[in-house]
Symmetry: C2
Subunit: 418 residues, 2 copies
Amino acid sequence: MAKRNALYAQSGGVTAVINGSAYGFAMAAREAGFIDEVYGGNNGINGVLYEEIVDLGQESAEALAALRHTPGGALGSARKKLQDLKKNQAEFQRILEVLDAHEIRYFFYNGGNDSMDTVAKLAQYAKEQGADLQVLGIPKTIDNDLPITDNSPGFGSAAKYNSISMMEASLDLASMCRDSTKVFVLEAMGRHAGWIAASTGLAHRSELDGPHAILLPEVNLNKDRFYKLVEDTVAKIGYCAVTVSEGIKDGNGNFLAEGGTKDAFGHAQLGGAGQALQEMIKADLGMKVHGAILDYCQRSARHVASKVDVEQAVAAARKAVELAGEGISGAMVTIVRESDAPYQWSLGHTDASNIANKEKILPKEYIREDGLHITPEFRKYCEPLIQGEEPPPYENGLPVYRRLAKNMLATKLPSFKL
Amino acid sequence: MAKRNALYAQSGGVTAVINGSAYGFAMAAREAGFIDEVYGGNNGINGVLYEEIVDLGQESAEALAALRHTPGGALGSARKKLQDLKKNQAEFQRILEVLDAHEIRYFFYNGGNDSMDTVAKLAQYAKEQGADLQVLGIPKTIDNDLPITDNSPGFGSAAKYNSISMMEASLDLASMCRDSTKVFVLEAMGRHAGWIAASTGLAHRSELDGPHAILLPEVNLNKDRFYKLVEDTVAKIGYCAVTVSEGIKDGNGNFLAEGGTKDAFGHAQLGGAGQALQEMIKADLGMKVHGAILDYCQRSARHVASKVDVEQAVAAARKAVELAGEGISGAMVTIVRESDAPYQWSLGHTDASNIANKEKILPKEYIREDGLHITPEFRKYCEPLIQGEEPPPYENGLPVYRRLAKNMLATKLPSFKL
């Protein structure tokens, strides 16, 4: 009898909780009566294109359970974006062939804006071709820049980690400022949207707590205003802690620091905004400056993940399996905020085309009028997302993170070349 | 009746657990029958020179208890180093006067190499002047570069945090390497001693776990050998994670990156070694590289401190109070390793002059023969120091860190100018 199998794959920059979604998928798919075999794609869409299909049914119960607390992307991720359907159908056709060869009727894609473009196009193409395939999107991004969904799994943990880092570094700075460092600069990820940088504002509960300024990509830097804030803060409390988004732009709207290289999606690879800002402050204000660039650590710090975030990552994948059972295709699961206090949320869904290639930047009402900090409205939005702790188990002083065995299915088709 | 008061002060770069020593001091001094009032110096030796003396007796029990889990230096630290006794007695004389004015007979100084220089000189000067004063040192440094003591409080937590950061970032890197980043560079603190960089080697338990290379200040960089290791590792597993010490030197023994500025102790302020290495790898190997600079976060990450480290920080301060009761002066408390497995330790003491201005670098037997990684002997040494977790309490998603009220004593002397 023909089988109805399901495949899950991870795409784009990983998060501290993307494997929570892998866990949620694996659990729900095993329980679902309408799914037979449970598979994973090796390195996102590459796993389908190149027929590298992981048999999740062969993973031990321990390995699957450990997904819930293991950062990184257990199946491997991908930066690859499918070519335009009108220009090149070959990739789409190949995907349908591979999935069909393995009787995969449900394809779950866990990613951000670009990945939802794939979900929308593939679902549409499958429909046009009359293929027996449903395609569902599971949201994921530390950047929190997906529209429609109230927030994205991965963001809450990045927000929590960055906020704690800012809290701790500010206490360090406060100790040293009398005859040493006066300014500390934390560089946060977020290419075009300042959600992560803004989230560190949660650490600012009194005038002694950093960050005292938050430089967002949504607001071109007003150097005079920023310098005045730094100088006033140092004059008043002795030090000043600043969060700067990697995507901060100067007064003319140009990136403060531009690495000059581009990633596989064609986006400029940024880096050095923190360094550039440090040099500016040193040169212009003559203050001793230190700075941290947390880079990949901020999207993999599972050791201090938000419990709410873990739960949403797991639940979003479970919901996607549920939607598959209802015959839905071309949709992404969304998180719906029911109330702020107490924080209550539910899950919904929207057409993936509503998400594809759109970036939700910080709305004006979340940015303080001077452009240098957050508003109470943002705090109300963000605070629920960092609630709760769910630390990994520890052994011998370090977290117990596990890798999947990743047994691959035998290939059934000739190999594929782009 | 004349009182016999005690003062504790913090000096140099702070650690995640230096307040554990403040806590240990406050508890032990309150319990000690021979101590009357319990004070703190505001910003290290500045608090004594400028007669800014914090009345720890006025702190609430909650605030004192919270010291155990609050990073930074609760009393404020200092980079100030006393001038040479032979050239300028004024500072030493002033210190004796201030301490005497407040009937302080026990001065506890919590710091590293430079601070132990102060302990040794001040104890000697007090003795020569016939002053009723005992001076005791409590070890503290994330750099772990103090001689004689088996390790220094602060190091174990920095080691744990950096190791976890490397573990997590390596899992991230492994997910992305197929069509994106191939090399990740973590810059670790450690000006002349590679203890922190080396400690990340604990995360390397299999060939898939970073770090695959550790660049230490003790070994001038052999570029060809390092590049070969990076290329071989990428060829074999797809990615390569590297820890680089901020103090790494090129083949000629010059710092790979030199900020050009100096701190108040006259040491070169480094920074940019990680950035420099990233640029080299990009240019010479043509690989996509990411990198993190944890900076102050690595010496303040109390949220993931080592329990052993917290306990040693507390115990070392308690021991100093005990030594004071025995009439000892001019000594620093040491941590003595009794056995590796099970790890057992006790406390001893040594003349502060044995510690002053000496740096313990990584011994040869802890560095792998190719100079690019650690040995099993180092692992045996370091692993016990990161054991156990003692997370802070959390409230509303963030750790509960507290500040002291820092009520100052009324001054009794004219103000002091250098």
